[in-house]
């Protein structure tokens, strides 16, 4: 399937906050009505449309690999967007956000768009973190904030798509160096050589070829 851009995302946050479920919910909606089943997955891709352009989102979950520094390092660096997730029913997952954010800021490229997600908004009765607290944290650290539920799918689409919109805007503003794939952005195969509006797009194919093993 052809696309104008491919954005790579990572999902970060404590274990058990529902990262892989969010991922699956977004990439494969059929798991939505399953109520008493938690299913997650570590990778998924989906096509979305922004500004009438096809954009492919690739989402990589980093769960279970925190033990290796080399791995987390490179994950952060290779992504254009990050979803930083906490669980609104577990205060400690909120408390750890700063650590995650510090890590992300240290390793990622400075343009990475980070969205803060308070997950499990369906469990209102067990809520430990107020929505306002999430909002305040996001405001303080310059993040976009949203509460979602992987179970009811509330706001899941929006979370991923809004992040993509922000990345797209940054591309339009020329903030992102799109010729540099290390930023987690790729120009679609058919777009690179022909589309004159993308500066220096020819370079992409070249660098790909040379690096191929």
């Amino acid at each position: 399937m052809s696309y104008a851009y491919l954005f790579k995302y990572i999902i970060i946050g404590d274990t058990g906050v529902g990262k892989s479920c969010l991922l699956l919910q977004f990439t494969d909606k059929r798991f939505q009505p399953v109520h008493d089943l938690t299913i997650g997955v570590e990778f998924g891709a989906r096509m979305i449309t922004i500004d009438s352009k096809q954009i492919k989102l690739q989402i990589w979950d980093t769960a279970g690999q925190e033990a290796f520094r080399s791995i987390t390092r490179s994950y952060y660096r290779g992504a254009a967007g990050a979803l930083l997730v906490y669980d609104i029913t577990r205060r400690e997952t909120f408390n750890h956000l700063t650590t995650w954010l510090d890590d992300a800021r240290q390793h990622s490229n400075s343009n990475m768009v980070i969205m803060l997600i308070g997950n499990k908004s369906d469990l209102e009765s067990r809520r430990e973190v107020k929505k306002e607290e999430g909002e305040a944290f996001a405001r303080e650290h310059g993040l976009v904030f949203m509460e979602t539920s992987a179970k009811t799918a509330a706001n899941v689409e929006e979370a991923f798509i809004n992040t993509a919109k922000e990345i797209y805007e940054k591309i339009q503003e020329g903030v992102f160096d799109i010729n540099n794939e290390a930023n987690g952005i790729k120009i679609g195969p058919q777009h690179s050589p022909t589309n004159p509006s993308l500066p220096g797009a020819g370079g992409v194919g070249g660098s790909q070829g040379s690096a191929c093993c």
């Binding site: 690999q65 080399s70 490179s74 540099n180 794939e181 290390a182 690096a211």
Partner: protein, 929 residues
């Protein structure tokens, strides 16, 4: 988006409950009737595969018969059959198939279910299947599948993947084929997988890894790293103008990724594997390419000659030549080599590796060097053996026989380590030459620092070169250090303290860091007499330099505090420094490069002032550390001594001005305004104790802005900016509100006191800085007091400040209980010995005199309350006068050097000093003259 299709073709017998064995049976039927993938059924197949994943997970958690059915019908074989077809849209189906497998393996909790799934070798058949890897989606799902499987590996499951009999381990061997895939996420997945595999403790599997794959895999990695750093070198060479910093940043980050990956492997401590890896790294990469690049420059030795083209060694075999058979054929420039080696020593700590490297850099002599890498390593092995053998003998016997004098001679003969006979070390040393610039010096310092602080390098290699040496003579311990290196470092420091220097702050900071490590041993400063004056003169030089900027910049005080805060936020982290590709480019002066201030040269007067401030701090800290002293003068504000929010204050006898605070959002609050020495405090009456108040908002007087209201003479607009702090970059004002007073008199009083308070608070700090800078006219040694001490600061028991000025603006201090020093409560007063309170007062007066002793001092102005008088009078009714701030007056006039126009309310100082005096009596003694 395909959900609608699921109804298509599933017309009959579809069970209502999607979570049931019946549903799986139905799906089985669908699969068996659609064994050939075609344009028509692919949507159906995808939907079926999705449903299978879901129902299997449900079954895993709820109904074991579901899994039994799946295995009984051998449904995985359908999967294989589907993926082996190369028909239209098969990639599309394959992607879902892989995702279904991902979901399965990731979500299965029941171990038995997992074993069943793995038991019939279908999974291995899927792993070795040649998917269409040119499709990036297939590639991504495939590699995720392999990675997911690797996360399931343990001592039990490994046997499903590694076949001892056939000596076959497809999961690993297939994965490493993609280790250099152009897609970074694929590479990362491969690395994750390899690490997950190595982690499994299974000797026969690890044997397979070592014997069958380690050599080719590691040599490939090494080869690619070699190729990579040549790209990096090229980039540095071509990017002298800071054009594509991004590309360089990526290359540097990539190199760090490589090193971290190698380190992650080495840290798993698999002896055999580490041996092979270390061997490859030393023979093929680190010595021939990294270390030998240091020596390429030896003869010309133009490292520090400024021009980049001179610095950068141009290799004869262009590093960009497409088919580099051996990365060693082209070496990299000296600066790049120093930088990369620093990274190696900062990240890797595997002892056999770093020990060898350190030894080679520090000890290799010319004769061995010329023989080449292999000989060099052999030589090292020999030396090591010799050393180990001789250890028993030498240490036990020889040393016993050597006389003290001989030992001393040995210790004092560091020329060994200076000798030009050591090509690598010589390069590092000569890089430290900053006469032209500090471009190469920074890397040389980083490398030396990294080696000296690497946990894997033992002291015997470093001793005398990078660590002080201790030798025991009969009576005492003798210390010695690398004189040559220390002199090199001192010359960098000297250059850095020159007004026109070309040394960046970061270079100076790391130089000082290294210097301290070299000359402090067992907590003692072992700096030789010949070197001590250099540090002292550098320190004076730094003072002199900063004096030029004192007050030349209007916001000097803010700059001073900001720089201090910035600096104390985090000390220099060399590892982070070496992650920054920007330092690889020749030192820049302009902030437009986006390079951190400390990593470039100052641009313009304002930045020169900043630099001078930093320089002053750095030299000050160094001098203090060398003398084993603690900082007692900085920061200018001591946060511990400030009033905190919610602190209860005894405000009996204090000047309180009632006001209503009107916030922008419309909220109103009734508060009392208290103006302390350094702080503005808004209090609310304490309902527990009469006359007490609870601080609801505190701000520093130095950070306030006060403006009157054009339309209402009872109103003031007050903005309190946040104090400079490292914690937040948030510069939203602490408070920005309209204050409404009872009448215009009180309003004016408040305005005057706030305005004056601001000036005084700032003056006080400036005077403190002046004392630190030893600016003439500041008599006496600097006070140990932090200027931040307010009246209420740091106290648990709070004392009255001003006597019963019930009505704000009316100063009616009744101070019989607190003679002279306003902030003493009667309670506390008893605790303070008369001598200490006298002493402190004296000292404060002394200072006041020197700084701002104005000729008018002895004449008490009507609105001021001379303390000496207060002492004797029980009550002075000054009702008609507006009290700005009472202040102590001294009857004597001494030392009128200062030309301050304003007679300072010196009471601030007396309070602060005596307050300290009662906390730190030791310092107080010093202070008193």
């Amino acid at each position: 988006m395909f959900r609608s299709r699921s109804w298509f073709g599933g017309g009959w017998g579809r069970p209502k409950n999607p979570h049931s064995l019946e549903h799986l049976k139905y799906l089985y039927n669908v699969l068996s009737r659609n064994q050939t993938v075609s344009e028509h059924n692919r949507g159906l197949l995808v939907e079926t595969l999705r449903s299978i994943a879901e129902i299997l997970i449900w079954g895993d958690q709820n109904d074991s018969s579901v899994f039994d059915f799946f295995l009984e019908k051998n449904m995985l074989s359908f999967f294989l059959r589907i993926m082996r077809q190369r028909s239209g849209g098969s990639n599309y189906v394959c992607v879902q198939l892989l995702q279904t497998l991902n979901i399965l393996f990731e979500n299965i909790r029941n171990e038995t279910s997992l074993y069943y799934l793995l038991s019939n070798n279908h999974v291995n058949s899927i792993i070795v299947h040649k998917f269409d890897f040119s499709d990036e989606e297939v590639m991504a799902y495939y590699i995720s599948f392999l990675k997911t499987l690797s996360l399931k590996l343990n001592a039990h499951t490994i046997h499903f993947f590694y076949n001892e009999h056939t000596n076959d381990f497809p999961l690993y061997t297939e994965a490493i084929k993609f280790f250099n895939h152009p897609e970074s996420m694929v590479r990362i997945a491969v690395r994750t997988l390899t690490l997950n595999v190595y982690k499994v403790e299974d000797s026969s599997m690890l044997g397979f890894i070592r014997d069958r794959t380690a050599a080719p895999y590691f040599s490939n990695i090494v080869w690619f790293i070699g190729k990579h750093i040549q790209e990096l070198d090229m980039c540095v060479r071509n990017e002298a103008d800071h054009h594509s910093q991004n590309r360089l940043a990526d290359l540097v980050a990539e190199h760090l990724d490589h090193l971290h990956y190698l380190n992650d492997i080495l840290c798993l401590n698999i002896t055999d594997l580490n041996h092979v890896l270390t061997d490859h790294l030393l023979h093929k990469l680190l010595i021939p390419l990294y270390i030998y690049s240091l020596a390429t420059h030896r003869r010309t030795s133009s490292i520090a000659e400024g021009s980049v083209s001179k610095i950068l060694w141009s290799s004869s075999s262009g590093p960009d030549s497409p088919r580099l058979q051996d990365p060693t054929s082209g070496r990299v420039s000296c600066v790049v080599a120093l930088f990369l080696l620093s990274q190696v020593f900062l990240i890797l700590s595997h002892s056999p590796l770093v020990q060898t490297l350190a030894w080679i850099i520090l000890k290799t002599d010319k004769s061995v060097f010329e023989k080449g890498v292999t000989k060099l390593l052999e030589h090292y092995e020999c030396e090591k053996k010799l050393l180990e053998d001789s250890y028993e003998e030498t240490l036990v016997e020889d040393l016993r026989n050597i006389t003290d004098e001989e030992k001393e001679k040995l210790a004092k003969n560091p020329s060994d380590f200076v000798a030009t006979e050591k090509p690598f070390l010589e390069t590092v040393y000569s890089a430290l030459d900053c006469n032209e610039n500090d471009y190469a010096a920074l890397f040389g310092l980083c490398l030396l620092y990294a080696m000296a602080n690497n946990k894997g390098v033992t002291t015997d290699v470093l001793e005398q070169v990078l660590k002080p040496k201790k030798s025991f003579s009969s009576k005492d311990v003798k210390y010695s250090y690398n004189v040559y290196l220390v002199e090199k470092l001192l010359s960098i420091v000297t250059l850095a303290c020159q007004p026109t220097c070309r040394v960046r702050l970061v270079t100076l900071e790391i130089t000082l860091k290294l210097l301290l490590q070299l000359v402090i041993c067992d907590g003692k400063n072992i700096l030789m007499d010949q070197h001590r004056p250099t540090i002292e003169s550098c320190k004076s030089q730094s003072l002199a330099l900063l004096r030029n900027f004192y007050k030349s910049e209007e916001i000097f005080l803010d700059m001073f505090e900001h720089e201090y805060c910035d600096m104390s936020k985090s000390s220099l982290n060399v590892e982070w420094l070496c992650m920054d590709s920007a330092i690889l480019l020749p030192p820049a002066g302009t902030p437009m490069t986006g390079i951190d201030f400390i990593k470039r040269l100052p641009c313009g007067e304002s930045e020169k002032a900043r630099r001078a401030i930093r320089l002053f701090f750095l030299m000050r800290i160094t001098a203090l550390s060398l003398n084993g002293e603690m900082e007692t003068q900085l920061p200018l504000t001591n946060p511990q001594s400030c009033v905190q929010i919610e602190q209860a204050l005894d405000l009996n006898n204090s000047d309180l001005i009632a006001c209503t605070v009107l916030y922008k959002d419309g909220t109103k609050m009734r508060r009392f305004l208290v103006i302390d020495v350094m702080q503005l405090i808004l209090v609310e009456p304490d309902n527990k104790r009469l006359g007490w108040g609870v601080a609801k908002l505190v701000g520093f007087l130095q950070d306030i802005e006060v403006t009157g209201d054009k339309d209402d003479s009872r109103c003031l607009h007050i903005t309190i900016h946040r104090p400079i702090s490292g914690a937040t970059t948030n510069r939203v004002p602490l408070l920005s509100a309209k204050f409404l007073f009872d009448d215009n008199i009180r309003c004016m009083a408040a305005k005057q006191r706030l305005t004056k308070g601001r000036i005084k608070a700032r003056q006080k700090k400036m005077q403190h800085i002046a004392r630190l800078l030893e600016i003439p006219g500041q008599s006496g040694p600097p006070s140990p007091a932090f200027t931040g001490q307010g009246l209420y600061g740091g106290r648990k028991n709070v004392r009255p400040m001003f006597v019963s000025s019930r009505c704000p603006g009316f100063a009616a201090p009744k101070r019989d209980s607190s003679p002279g020093v306003l902030h003493r409560t009667s309670r506390l007063q008893n605790d303070v010995s008369p001598s200490s309170s006298n002493r402190s007062r004296d000292s404060s007066l002394g200072r006041a005199k020197s700084r701002e002793g104005s000729p008018r001092m002895p004449r008490p102005r009507s609105e001021e309350i001379p303390l000496e008088l207060i002492k004797k009078t029980t009550l002075i009714d000054m009702a008609p006068k507006i009290s700005i701030l009472p202040r102590p007056q001294t009857p004597r006039i001494e030392n009128e050097l200062s030309q301050e126009k304003e007679a300072a309310p010196t009471i601030f100082i007396s309070e602060e000093t005596s307050f300290i005096g009662d906390r730190k009596t030791t310092n107080d003694g010093v202070e008193t003259i």
